[in-house]
Each structure stands twice: as C-alpha cells, then as structure tokens.
C-alpha cells in the first residue's frame, strides 16, 4: 500500500465485540465449535457447519498463506488514494480463509501460497484492523 494507508473503523455489534477487543491486545481470535471441531471466521455464535451454539473463542497463531490476492489499482471512497494495494484471502493455519490486506512489503513479491503473518493496524478507536505481511525465514 502506498502513501496513506486507510484504517477504517470496522462496524461492530455485541456478537463481534470480543473479536475487536482482542485486536487491541494484538490477538487474532477465531470461533471454534466444540461439537464438530470446526474453526471458522467471521465469528458468530452459531456454528456454520453443524448449527451448534456450543462454540467459543480460540486464539489464532496469526500465521497462514495467501489463498488468493489482487493488486487493486482503481478504488473508491477511503481507498481512492491508497492504490495500489493488495486485497487478499489469507488461509490461516487453523483453516479459515479471511479477507484482508497484505501490507508492509513489496507488493510485487506477493504470490499465491506466500507465507504471511498478522499485523495490527490501530484504527484510533481502541481497536485494530488485522492485516498480514509477508513472513521471512521460519
């Protein structure tokens, strides 16, 4: 991402507030189902796999790989002046694929299967936006 990197304040609700509270401590939370063992994202009370409500928060490693990415070169609204920037699906080590941005790196080096790790961009409102950066070494 070049120049000003927008950090929009995410809309939250009572169901998702613990996720956003954790971002202030630099922790990425996922939801885990005690019945079918599925780990999922975005967070919600009811398991999208088996409909159980026997689910809870679990902390993610923050590591994963790029499932797909695009360098966005024309954008609108708060991103209009932030091009080019990378929109991506990251497949977390725990399984879920999450929409995010790949930041703090040479965007030409981003590839499918690139190894990435989470970084947190402060929104200025007490919460942070989880994004990812290319991981070097092991």
């Amino acid at each position: 991402m070049t120049g000003e990197r927008p950090v929009p304040v995410p809309p939250t609700n009572p169901e998702t507030e613990p996720f956003w509270d954790a971002t202030a401590d630099g922790r990425l939370l996922l939801r885990s189902c005690a019945d079918c063992k599925r780990v999922y994202h975005y967070p919600r009370r009811q398991c999208p796999e088996c409909a159980s409500t026997n689910t809870d928060w679990t902390e993610a490693s923050g590591r994963g790989t790029v499932y797909s990415y695009t360098v966005t070169r024309r954008a609108s609204e708060e991103y209009a002046d932030a091009t080019p920037y990378v929109l991506a699906y990251v497949e977390l080590k725990e399984g879920p694929r999450m929409l995010t941005n790949i930041v703090d790196c040479d965007i030409e080096r981003v590839e499918v299967d690139s190894r990435v790790e989470v970084v947190f961009d402060d929104t200025g409102s007490g919460r942070a936006l989880p994004r990812f950066t290319l991981r070097v070494g092991d």
Partner: protein, 388 residues
C-alpha cells in the same frame, strides 16, 4: 416440481437507452413494462403478477405502475442473477395456478446517479454480519472477482489471454447491435494491453456501467396460445446461492454447480442440447467459471474451451451473448440478468441481429451470477424452448 412448458415467455423489452440523466428510474420501469406488454400483445390490465428486485421495492413500484388485482408478487434479490430466477419463480407460480400473467421489470441508473470508475461495492448495509470483516479492507466488485480469477489461474493455468477471448467474442457480436455501448471489435491484445484495474483483471475484462432496464412477461400456456407472438416455453429452471461458509469459500467455482443441474434435470435436456447460451458476464472470469460449472467443459478447462471462437455466433460450438452482453452492450442498473433472458428469447424467436442469429435455435440457456463469487453469490439457470 417440473415447470415444464406450463409457462411461456410472452413478451420482452430491453430499453435502448444506456445513459438516462433526465429520466427517473421508475419511469424506466414504466417504459420497459409497457414495452414488454406491447411486445406480448397484452395490457397492464392483464397483469396479475408483478416482480422486481429493485429499490424502492415491489410495493412502491406496483403503486407507481398502477398495478391492481395482483395475486402474485416476488422481490427475490440475489444480485444480478435475480431476473433469471424471477422467470423460474413466475413459471412455478403459474404452474401452481396462482396467476396467469407475470410482469417482471428491472431498471437502474448507476451511470447517471453514482458512476464511479472504482466500482464501489453496493448494497452492503452496516448491520450485515460480515460488514466488519469485509468493508474495512477496500473491497470492490472487480477486486473480488479478481481474487477468483487469480485463484483459477493458479489452480488450472488459465491465462489472461484466454479470459480475453470472452471479451473478443462479445465484441464481435456487439458490432451488430446498434444499441451496444461498445460496438468496435477488440482483439486479445487489446484486452490484455488495457489498464489493469485489479490484477489479473483489465479494464476490458469488466462489464459496462449503464443506465436502462428491461422487462419480461411470463404467461400461462393458455394465455400464450391466444397471442400472435412466438412464446418460448420455460422448460426448466434452478436457483442456488453460494457463500463464504465460515471461511471455507472456494473461489474457483460458482453457484452454477447447483443451479445448472437443477435446471437441466427440470428441462430434461443436457448441455449438448443447448443451441445458444446467455451467460452472465459481469467480468470475463464470471463467464469462464460458469461455463465450467454448467458442464459445458470440465472444471479447469474453461480457458482452453473458449479459445478458437467457441463462443462466437453463428458458427461457434457455444454461441453466447449475441447482443454483446454486459461486457459490450448493456449492464443496466449493475444487474444483467434481465438482458440475459431477453437475448435468449430473441434467439429462440429468430429475432437476434441477423449476423449473429443461431440457425434453427431450438433450446437456449440463460444463466445469471449475482453479487460476488468472491464472497456471496446468487445463481440462476433458465432453459427455454422455441415455440414451434
């Protein structure tokens, strides 16, 4: 329940306008409604079912149009696929005896009201459960489809040049459509040399942004039998939605994997029987994945399939989007489902532009892909048969 031939498409109308700065959107609904009813040889008084997915909603627009005595309404919204789905729903309602003449209208003015080259994502209320996990990241429709294209390329070796073949075919057809926004044929090189919008998608991989609309009249076979126009039969239909699945989304296929077989089973036909296909073309990748998912080729082989003029009418193996499609002609209100049905009906009536009319077109398919295959997408497949 099969919808086989109990309902027919009696009238169609595509608004010729592509930019309508001085017309209200409801006025466009009225224009296309009148046009489709006139085409059918019916009047507003004959209508007892009304369907639209558009804001400000079916109540408001039925009021505006003065429709009374409605016994069937539907406002199903699965993005651009909606108007393909609506025809199947109308046919089922007719088969169930709920109504006899269903008017379906679509109109919109994105070019005049809020045209933005960055193609912002719309219709995403802040109270949507996913909003916090998507909106902050700078999503756009083209960006989300680009994610799908990138993954398809990664898994199957699909190339930008292969995607470009889809635009080339559409542009070959659009040169014969006097209303198309872009009427000049383009080459593969033109597409891949056009500016990247969100890689790997270029500007010419994207559909037009147009004002306008279209309407469809679906009537019972009894009503249709008294009309003088050829009325293609609704042979089969199928809807599906595909979503994020809690982070399990596979970007390389679409809801057509489910909607296609439902429609083919309903109609009792196979891909070999399809003489012409309208395939939703918000982006070139939308077409490529749908072709695979509908079974016209194996998964992953769409790139090879579209090479060599396969999609070009009248001689290609699978002539598609002979009006120029959303890529070159029209994508009214950012939703192209209605024009997909309309061109399929033109082909079955033998009323497509002469240079692209498929000879002896007996069975046509119209397929819609709505919203975004990068997150949540609607799919609707419709199979129509000629009235002979």
């Amino acid at each position: 329940m099969s919808t086989q031939a109990s309902a027919r498409v009696a009238g169609i109308y595509e608004h010729p306008v592509r930019e309508a700065p001085d017309t209200s959107t409801p006025q466009l609904h009225a224009d296309v409604a009148a046009g489709a009813l006139r085409d059918a040889g019916l009047t507003f008084d004959d209508v007892d079912g009304y369907v639209t997915a558009e804001s400000p909603g079916v109540l408001s627009l039925a009021d505006y149009l003065g429709l009374e005595g409605l016994s069937y309404v539907d406002s199903t919204d699965i993005g651009g696929a909606s108007y393909v789905a609506h025809v199947g729903h109308a046919a089922a309602a007719i088969a169930a005896g709920r109504c006899d003449v269903v008017l379906i209208t679509h109109a919109g003015r994105p070019r005049s009201i809020d045209y933005d080259p960055g193609h912002p994502r719309r219709n995403h209320p802040a109270d949507a459960p996913e909003a916090g996990f998507e909106d902050p990241y700078g999503l756009s429709f083209v960006g989300l489809y680009a994610l799908a294209a990138r993954r398809h390329m990664h898994e199957y070796g699909t190339t930008s040049e292969q995607l470009a073949e889809i635009r080339v075919a559409a542009s070959q057809h659009a040169q014969h459509n006097e209303h198309a926004m872009f009427q000049d044929p383009v080459t593969v090189a033109d597409v891949v040399d056009s500016p990247l919008v969100s890689d790997p998608l270029h500007l010419l991989d994207c559909c037009v942004v147009s004002d306008g609309g279209g309407a469809i009249v679906v009537a019972s076979s009894d009503v249709a039998s008294d009309l003088s126009r050829p009325c293609p039969a609704v042979l089969g239909s199928g809807d599906a939605i595909k979503h994020h699945g809690g982070g399990a989304l596979d970007l390389t296929d679409t809801g057509a994997v489910e909607s296609g077989p439902k429609a083919f089973d309903d109609a009792g036909v196979t891909t070999d029987d399809i003489d012409y296909a309208s395939i939703y073309d918000s982006f070139t990748i939308t077409v490529l994945e749908a072709i695979e998912d509908l079974g016209f080729c194996e998964k992953g082989e769409g790139g090879e399939f579209v090479e060599g003029g396969t999609l070009q009418a009248p001689d290609g193996d699978l002539p598609f989007n002979t009006d120029g499609g959303g890529l070159c002609s029209n994508h009214p209100g950012n939703r192209g489902g209605v024009t997909k049905v309309i061109e399929a009906v033109r082909q079955l009536r033998g009323e497509a532009n002469a240079e692209v009319q498929v000879p002896d077109c007996e069975i046509a398919l119209a397929h819609g892909t709505g919203n975004s295959i990068g997150t949540r997408t609607g799919a609707a497949t419709l199979i129509l048969g000629a009235d002979r």
